[in-house]
């Protein structure tokens, strides 16, 4: 299987690469459109700030490429947020794959949400074998509002979409690569889609 992690300058892709290594798969880091197009599975990572991440995507033309991909694509954290219509972070237009908007938590709660919280109301093959209310590791200040594409929900200040799916596109707000054995199961499920 050819697995490509989109390398556009967003941080901590090493963790994702290692997580797949632990499952017995090699993942290629690349920003080459041909490599990405020819992959069986694509990971769209993201750690950092939305507007600068989007700027990097545009500079390499990846903003045009990603929505046209036909194979399973998994956006993680900021990757998922950038696949939405818009994010309040830096007032940034997203790739418009998921029909929802990304907002900031209010200051009624600590921001960022940092740590382990549960994902529930799971609705996708991505979560095969994962129990309802399983703990996942999250670290984020912005959240995606619920929409028809919600496949997991989490409570922090409000109830929001902690995972999304539209056709071949998947997104998780949590970090499966950092969420212990259960997180690894989700990555394995993704590879088996």
């Amino acid at each position: 299987m050819k697995l490509v992690i989109i390398n556009y300058g967003a941080g901590n892709i090493k963790s994702i690469q290692f997580a797949f290594n632990r499952l017995g798969y090699d993942a290629l880091l690349s920003n080459d459109p041909e490599e990405i197009k020819s992959a069986d599975k694509v990971i769209f990572p993201g750690v950092g700030e939305a507007s600068s991440a989007m700027k990097m995507l545009k500079e390499s033309g990846l903003d045009k490429l990603i929505p046209t991909l036909k194979q399973p694509v998994l956006g993680i954290c900021l990757g998922m947020q950038l696949m939405c219509l818009h994010t309040e972070e830096g007032d940034t237009a997203g790739l418009g794959i998921f029909q929802t908007k990304v907002k900031r938590f209010s200051n009624d709660v600590k921001v960022p949400q940092m740590g382990w919280n549960v994902i529930k109301e799971l609705k996708s093959d991505l979560f095969k074998g994962i129990k309802d209310k399983e703990y996942m590791y999250l670290v984020h200040s912005f959240y995606a509002e619920h929409c028809n594409e919600t496949i997991a929900a989490t409570d922090y200040e409000i109830n929001y979409a902690s995972a999304l799916q539209h056709e071949n596109f998947y997104g998780t707000q949590f970090h499966p690569e950092k969420s212990g054995k259960e997180g690894a199961k989700i990555l394995k499920n993704f590879l088996e889609l």
């Binding site: 750690v47 740590g115 919280n117 590791y137 212990g180």
Partner: protein
Amino acid sequence: MLTKRIIPCLDIKNGRTVKGVNFVDLRDAGDPVALAKQYADQGADELVFLDITATLEARATTLEMVLHVAEQVNIPFTVGGGISSVEHVDALLKNGADKVSINSSAVKRPELVNELADKFGSQCVVVAIDAKQIDDEWFVHLAGGTIPTDIKLFEWAKEVEDRGAGEILFTSMNHDGTKGGFANEALAKLSELLNIPIIASGGAGQVQHFIDTFEKGKSDAALAASVFHFGEIPIPELKKQLKANHIEVRI
């Protein structure tokens, strides 16, 4: 609900863990990777590696250790100790660290907090603050608590939050090593004053101390070293008791 985090802290020197670790089933207690894996399996929510390596040359060894931890450990980890530049942080994050913790270097040059938050995001910038209470006032101390300053804890904590810190790791010098409990009054005040997570450090000796710091100290996470390393408080047992006391933890 977001759970309270339990964080073992490992001291690293030249890529090896120091301060005896008393795990019977570990062949090499000095191997940070083996120890980190063990803690992850026991249900630790995160790990902190504190690099006490003195020389610059030995830093490469630490970088290599970070890479090996990232390779094998599937929970988040923070690296701290002697970090004073954007380049150093870049190297640590590229090797797989999730967060970095800065302390004295932030006091010496507060702009470092802004630079790191701007370049890598607040979520990976932990500011560690060591402070001592002297006549009702908390003062920040540097170099592992050995050098006093006239900087006041709460003012400094607010400043680093404004500069972009994503989290505060607060160690009370009055409580550290005493095993008499965390500095819950100061911790609660930090939690009320700031809008970022607060990690309690210094003073863990019994399970009740963890219950207290989450309830009275309003801490978001609790860090400890020796009670975990010497098996005085096994993490699964700790979490079971926290849960029995209605504190949300990941089990």
